[in-house]
Amino acid sequence: METWPFWLAGLGIGAFVPLFALTTGKALGISSGYSEMCALARPAGAERWKLWFALGLPLGGLLATVLSSGGAQVTTSSSDMAQALHLDGAAQLALLALGGGLIGYGARTAGGCTSGHSIVGLAQGAKSSLIATLGFMVGGFAATWIAVLLAGGVQ
């Protein structure tokens, strides 16, 4: 199975939001699931479902890979990242960890991520989520172009 065209993937992700709410009563959100991972030692509270949801995500990634035309395969470095930014090995892992740190810090500062703000929040027409999503996009564009220029410019 190949990956889906944009409209099918968009329909699937978009339909997931109301169906998840209808089934569980919850609004989809993922970044706060990392707070639950940080709170594992504490008794389970009302947010514990986010931990289980987060743990389900890798299973879905695995299923997609098993069903893909290429089949399951394990990689320890990103060839895309090596090609785009000329980074490999330890330097690549360091940039991934730094990027991850900014994601975690930024998501907790903004109170949500691309799922909670940019899908669920925008779908509700929330002003807060529009502001956060503008931040995601401006930050992403700026960092991409600076990284490309530092890595040797546009080829």
């Binding site: 479902w49 995500l57 895309d80 930024g106 903004a110």
Partner: protein
């Protein structure tokens, strides 16, 4: 709360993220380089579909199938939205992942995403430590 229900929902969402290529560094890099508009299309269709579905849901039941009250509300406006968004966006572009896709990448066999996930946990912890009142260690790692 049934763990298996949320585990299954997470698996379905992870599958959708993979099928959308939201777990693909090249797709995210291409979106910000404006050389591959695929993910803009995914987000646009997803938001429109979710908006229509949530509008329908507002006319329907107030109780979910598991008996809980359906609670999907806009998040409050506060000062951290744009600044936090900027920081998040830089991380999104550098790592080619977001909190959900980093975990889906692990399932895809992209073991380098362990570095991203560890970073997200560290950033979450740092931010919560910075904002927690003195002596309150709740939600810290």
């Amino acid at each position: 709360m049934k763990p298996v229900l949320f585990l299954g929902a997470g698996a379905l969402f992870g599958f959708l993220l993979s099928q959308a290529r939201a777990t693909d560094f090249a797709a995210i890099h291409g979106m910000f380089r404006l050389t591959d508009l695929h993910l803009f299309g995914v987000i646009g269709v997803a938001v429109a579909t979710a908006a229509a579905g949530l509008a329908l849901l507002r006319r329907g039941p107030t109780t979910a199938l598991n008996g809980e009250t359906i609670s999907v509300k806009p998040k409050p406006v506060h000062k951290g939205l744009f600044v936090g968004g900027l920081v998040f966006g830089v991380g999104w572009a550098l790592s080619g992942a977001c909190p959900g896709t980093a975990l889906a990448q692990l399932g895809e066999g992209k073991l380098y995403a362990l570095a991203t996930v560890a970073g997200i946990l560290a950033g979450t912890w740092l931010r919560q430590r910075a904002s927690a009142p003195a002596g309150n260690t709740a939600r810290s790692c």
